[in-house]
């Protein structure tokens, strides 16, 4: 079955870049029926969609307006994974970060059907 395994540092200093990786098993990052997504969760902001990368004959990225100037989501086809890079972080970026598979043109609609285990990232000096 499809599984997502997250990795990355749990502590990031203010003004630095937060980077997390999500390794995919059981599916392909190049699948044309999946959008590989990052979502975060904090007590102050709740669940917040950050963005996604998807392959539609070329790579397409969509980012949330709230972070679009600071975020990059990169696919890595050689390792079948995708990464989140969020630069210039502040304590407001402290949250649990999840990677997820968003479906496209599926019988399940556009659901986030598979989630990573979550990574608690703290932004602090």
């Amino acid at each position: 079955q499809v599984q997502l395994q997250q990795s990355g540092p749990r502590l990031v200093k203010p003004s630095q870049t937060l980077s997390l990786t999500c390794a995919i098993s059981g599916d392909s990052v190049s699948s044309n029926s999946s959008a590989w997504t990052w979502i975060r969760q904090s007590p102050s902001r709740g669940l917040e969609w950050l963005g996604r990368t998807a392959y539609r004959f070329t790579w397409q990225n969509d980012y949330a307006v709230s972070v679009e100037s600071r975020i990059t989501i990169d696919p890595d086809t050689s390792k079948n994974q995708f990464s989140l890079h969020l630069k210039s972080v502040t304590p407001e970026d402290t949250a649990v970060y999840y990677c997820a598979r968003g479906l496209i043109a599926s019988t399940l609609g556009a659901a986030f059907d598979i989630w990573g285990q979550g990574t608690m990232v703290t932004v602090s000096s």
């Binding site: 979502i39 709740g46 669940l47 969609w49 980012y63 307006v65 609609g109 556009a110 659901a111 986030f112």
Partner: protein
């Protein structure tokens, strides 16, 4: 502040029925499907309802979803103690060009 509005808490007695709501606008719920997720303590959200009212394989038929206009509802019948969790609604927002979530409803089974 979440784009979709949910009551912060709900409660019910085992065996009975509880409903929770999710309110949005024409740019999200009014024009797009609603999805519901259940989050047990310390775990990632799990898909509960897709396309307003459909249940994925493995989700009991005690869970049901509905939508009318710019609001959606999740109902749980035959309430069980293991249903205690946080429930979130989600929808695509055309104005924001992104997914939006509700703030979540924490369900307590009395």
């Amino acid at each position: 502040q979440s784009v979709l509005t949910q009551a912060p808490s709900a409660s019910g007695t085992p065996g009975l029925r509880v409903t929770m709501s999710c309110s949005g606008s024409n740019s999200n719920i009014g024009d797009n499907y609603v999805y519901w997720y259940q989050q047990l303590p310390g775990t990632a959200p799990k898909l509960l309802i897709y396309r307003d009212s459909q249940r994925p394989s493995g989700v009991p038929d005690r869970f049901s979803g509905s939508k009318s206009g710019t609001s959606a509802s999740l109902a749980i019948s035959g309430l069980r103690s293991e249903d205690e969790a946080d429930f979130y609604c989600a929808s695509w927002d055309d104005s924001l060009s992104g997914w939006v979530f509700g703030g979540g409803t924490k369900l307590t089974v009395l």
